[in-house]
């Protein structure tokens, strides 16, 4: 039975799961969830994820929700398949995996939601929130700029899950009016140019309808 991904290729969090499956070269079936009609809040879906959010991955008997738990699970179970995204016992890896979640994601996902998603679902962008989050993200990216001046990838010399978890949000931000938050920082931009050139990412990116 193929791995099932419940989600959408427009969803930042679902794309994280899709990206890791592509890096691993694994076959999967994308089961779209119609958020507009509230499918994610219906009992059938809540049985998969009681928090009523995408993505959910079903792999045999395992049902996993929360995108970062999914990516760690896939990277661990299929370590021998495709690129190895988990360095053995690396403190820097675990730290920067967490940095994405705690420092990077809150600001960048808020900007992407305001600028890209809200117009699609008939809501009004709150530009003052965009500016507030942009200031936060810029300060965070200053730290990334210094870090990536000394490290080719966030966890060191090789591409890992710690880089991959960032990719959907960076892709989306670059489609928005706030792209310069990334492009104005030379080492951050160089890191993105490198990791987005990966064939597996190109496959993921081609499926994003933005």
């Amino acid at each position: 039975m193929a791995i099932k991904v419940y989600g959408l290729t427009l969803s930042n969090n679902a794309l994280r799961a899709i990206a890791v499956l592509n890096e691993k070269g694994l076959d999967y079936e994308l089961c779209p969830v119609d958020l507009q009609s509230g499918a994610h809040k219906k009992p059938e879906f809540l049985a998969l994820n009681p928090f009523g959010q995408i993505p959910v991955v079903q792999d045999g008997d395992e049902i996993i929700f929360e995108s970062r738990a999914i990516t760690r699970y896939i990277a661990t179970k299929y370590k021998e398949s495709g690129a190895d995204l988990l360095p053995d016992n690396s403190a820097k890896f675990e730290t920067w995996l967490q940095v994405e979640s705690s420092q990077f994601y809150p600001a960048i996902s808020a900007i992407n939601f305001e600028l890209l998603i809200k117009p699609m679902i008939g809501m009004t962008t709150d530009m003052s929130n965009v500016e507030k989050q942009a200031e936060k993200l810029s300060a965070v990216l200053d730290v990334y700029e210094a870090h990536l001046a000394k490290n080719k990838y966030v966890a060191g010399d090789v591409f890992t899950l710690a880089d991959l978890n960032h990719m959907p949000e960076v892709f989306l931000l670059l489609k928005s009016p706030k792209a310069e938050l990334i492009t104005s920082k030379p080492h951050v931009k160089a890191w993105w140019d490198d990791i987005s050139a990966r064939p597996a990412w190109k496959k993921t990116a081609a499926s994003i309808p933005v």
Binding site: F51, R68, T76, E94, S101, Q103
Partner: protein, 217 residues
């Protein structure tokens, strides 16, 4: 061999997360206080450990880590042989559930509970300010929805990841402990399984020890 050095504060939620792990595994450690009121966390010495200027940070020989959930995972792995295995990394089905509920803490539980704690405890107690009731009320509504999910989960499962205590349960401690010090502790009365789970995990010696160093004890 010597222990590890934790830079932080016993009253800080994120430092408490790491302290709990260190206590659970019986690690040798030294807590070096970093003074937030004097801005020590933003000075060069600490920025060299954590470029985001936050506590905690951990030094283990030449290794330096920051982000409490990363430090905790590092500590729990390092001292796994002590007999306390809170990550279950040798069993994929179990470790996957630990990771799911760790993420639930980080992405669902924490964003709902932390504004309540921040406004009702930290703002008056540490900043001498007035709580913003509108923020508290909005967060309480969000938090109740999260607690409904936890209630359902803990009705079927003794601990969050399964029938075993894990890092996923532990990670919820610091902010929940602080909520219990505020009048909003009463929100747990409507969720008997969550309340029972809380009573169980807080009876552990490590929890009692770390709790004693926090506010409101």
């Amino acid at each position: 061999m010597g222990g590890v050095i934790l830079y932080g504060s016993p009253i800080s939620t994120c430092s408490a997360r790491v302290l709990l792990c260190l206590e659970e595994v019986g690690a040798e450690y030294q807590l070096v206080p970093i003074s937030m009121p004097t801005g020590e966390h933003k000075k060069p010495d600490h920025l060299a450990r954590n470029p985001f200027g936050q506590i905690p940070a951990l030094e283990d020989g030449d290794l330096v880590l920051f982000e409490s959930r990363a430090i905790s995972r590092y500590v729990l792995r390092k001292y796994k042989e002590s007999g306390t295995d809170l990550l279950k990394e040798g069993n994929l089905a179990k470790s996957a559930m630990v990771d799911v509920w760790l993420e639930a803490e980080s992405q669902q539980y924490n964003p709902a509970i932390s504004p309540i704690v921040y406004q009702s405890l930290f703002v008056p107690k540490m900043r001498g300010g007035t709580p913003d009731q509108a923020i508290i009320d909005a967060s309480l509504e969000k938090f109740k929805k999260v607690l409904e999910v936890y209630e359902a989960r803990l009705s079927k499962s003794k601990y969050l990841a399964g029938d075993f205590f894990s890092f996923a349960d532990l990670s919820h401690f610091p902010y929940t402990k602080y909520l219990m010090v505020t009048p909003y502790a009463s929100v747990f009365e409507s969720y008997p399984h969550v309340k029972a789970w809380w009573k169980d995990i807080t009876s552990r010696p490590a929890f009692k020890k770390v709790s004693a160093g926090m506010l409101g004890s």
